[in-house]
Amino acid sequence: QVSISVAASLKDALNEIVGVYAKSHPGATFQKNYAASGALAGQIEQGAPADLFISANVKWMNYLKEKNLVDAPSIRTFAFNDLVFAGATSQKIKSMNDLTRLGKIGIGSPKSVPAGEYAMQAIVKSGLEQALAGKLIMAKDVRESLMYAELGEVDGSVVYRTDALMAKKARILFTVPATLYPEVVYPVALTVAGAKNADAKSFHAWLKGKEATAILKKYGFTVK
C-alpha cells in the first residue's frame, strides 16, 4: 500500500496516473491525500502516514528536507507549470501591460499561494505594481482565483495553465512571459518511511516514465 500526499492542484492528473498504474500493478493500493502543500508538510512532520510527497513549490519540500523527513536523494522535479492570464472578459488582453485597462484582477494570495507569489513577482518585474494596486483580489488558492474569473467577479486571474485548461467560461488570454517569474516546479520525493516501502519506490520510479508524462502533458503540465 502506498500513501501519497499530493498538492491539491495535481488532484485530477494524479487520480488518472494512479488509476493507470494500479491497472498495470494489480497488487498496489493507494491512499491519496490532497490538500495544500503547507498542510501536507505539517501533517508529514507530525507523523501522518505518507510515502510520497508532491509539493506545489520547492519551499515546503526544502522544509521537510531540512527536518530529514524526506529521503533527500529521491527529491526530483515532477513537473513544471506556466502562469497564464485567463478570463471571460471581452476586452482584448494580449500582454501584461494590457492588464492596466482591466478592473479587478485575481491572483493567489502572495504570502500563502505560490502562484500568487509568482504572479506578484511578474507584476513587479513589469513595473505594474503601482498601476495595479487596488485592483488585485487575493484568493486562498489558485482554484478560487480561477473561480472568480469563471463567475466574472474579476475580469481575469493569473493562474496556472493546468487550471485554466479546465475552465469553462474563462479563456487563456495570454501566457505570462517566463522571464518575469521563477520556474514553477512541482518537486516529488519519497518520505523517510516511503524509502523503505518497495511499492512506493517503484511508483516513484514509474512516475518518470512515459505513461505518467503523457498524462501530465494532457493536463497541461510541462515535463522536461
Binding site: A41, I137, M138, K140, G152
Partner: protein
C-alpha cells in the same frame, strides 16, 4: 510578540467586522426568533431549515453560495448594484459572511430567552391597550435582552474566527479585507510564519475573551438591575 502594521489593520478590521455583523444581525435575529416563538405560519419549518443551514454546511460552501448571490451576476448583487452598492471583495462582504455563519447561534440564544417569557405578561400588555408591535417593543424586547446578549457574544466570537466563507466573498486583501483569521492563514502557509500566526491567535483569543466577560458583567447587571 511582535505585530506588523498590517497585523494591526487586520485586528482593527476584524473588530469592525465582528461588531458590525453582530449589530446588524441583532434586530434580524430578534425578529426571526420572535417569528419562531410567537407566531404560527406556513413555512415555519422551511424558515427553521434555512436559519440552520449555515451551521451544517462547510463555511466554504456558504461562501460560495454568498458569492453566487451577491456577485456581479447574482440576483442580490444585481439588485444592490442598481443602488450603486458593491459588496463582494469589500469588508462589507466579510460582514455578510460573518453574519450568515453566526446567525443560527444568535437566533438559538434569543429563542431560548424568549421561550421563557410568561405568556400572561403579553396578555396583560395587550389588554392594557398595547397593540402587538407595542408589546413586542416594550415587553418582549426588554425581556429578551439577556438572550440577545448571550447570542451576540457567541456571534462576536464566531465572527472573529470566521475564515472559510469570508475568504471567498471578501478576498484576502491586506489592509482592505484581510481579517485576523485570513492573516493567520497567510502566516501559517509559509514555514517561517508560525510565530507570527501564534501572536495573532493570542490577540484573537484575548479579544473574544474580553467580549465574553464584558457580556457576563452586563448580564449580571441586567439580572440585579430591574429599573427602579
Amino acid at each position: 510578540m511582535h505585530l506588523t502594521p498590517e497585523d494591526f489593520s487586520a485586528i482593527a478590521l476584524s473588530i469592525k467586522i465582528a461588531i458590525t455583523a453582530t449589530v446588524i444581525s441583532l434586530p434580524v435575529g430578534f425578529a426571526t426568533a420572535w417569528l419562531m416563538v410567537f407566531s404560527h405560519f406556513r413555512g415555519k419549518v422551511l424558515l427553521e431549515v434555512l436559519i440552520n443551514l449555515p451551521l451544517t454546511l462547510p463555511p466554504v460552501v456558504i461562501g460560495y453560495f454568498l458569492l453566487l448571490m451577491l456577485g456581479r451576476n447574482g440576483w442580490i448583487g444585481v439588485f444592490l448594484k442598481s443602488f450603486g452598492i458593491e459588496l463582494v471583495f469589500t469588508w462589507k462582504a466579510a460582514v455578510v459572511a460573518s453574519a450568515a455563519v453566526g446567525f443560527p447561534l444568535l437566533v438559538r440564544s434569543i429563542r431560548l430567552g424568549m421561550e421563557s417569557i410568561d405568556h400572561q405578561l403579553l396578555q396583560a400588555s395587550r389588554s392594557l391597550g398595547a397593540p402587538w408591535y407595542d408589546t413586542l417593543a416594550t415587553v418582549i424586547l426588554p425581556l429578551s435582552l439577556r438572550g440577545m446578549l448571550a447570542g451576540s457574544s457567541l456571534m462576536f466570537a464566531r465572527s472573529l474566527g470566521e475564515f472559510g466563507a469570508t475568504i471567498i466573498v471578501a478576498g484576502n486583501i491586506p489592509g482592505l479585507t484581510q481579517t485576523i483569521p485570513l492573516a493567520i492563514y497567510d502566516y501559517a502557509s509559509s514555514p517561517t510564519g508560525t510565530a507570527m500566526a501564534l501572536s495573532l491567535c493570542i490577540v484573537s483569543v484575548a479579544l473574544s475573551v474580553s467580549v465574553l466577560f464584558l457580556h457576563e458583567v452586563i448580564g449580571k447587571q441586567l439580572e440585579h438591575g430591574g429599573k427602579a
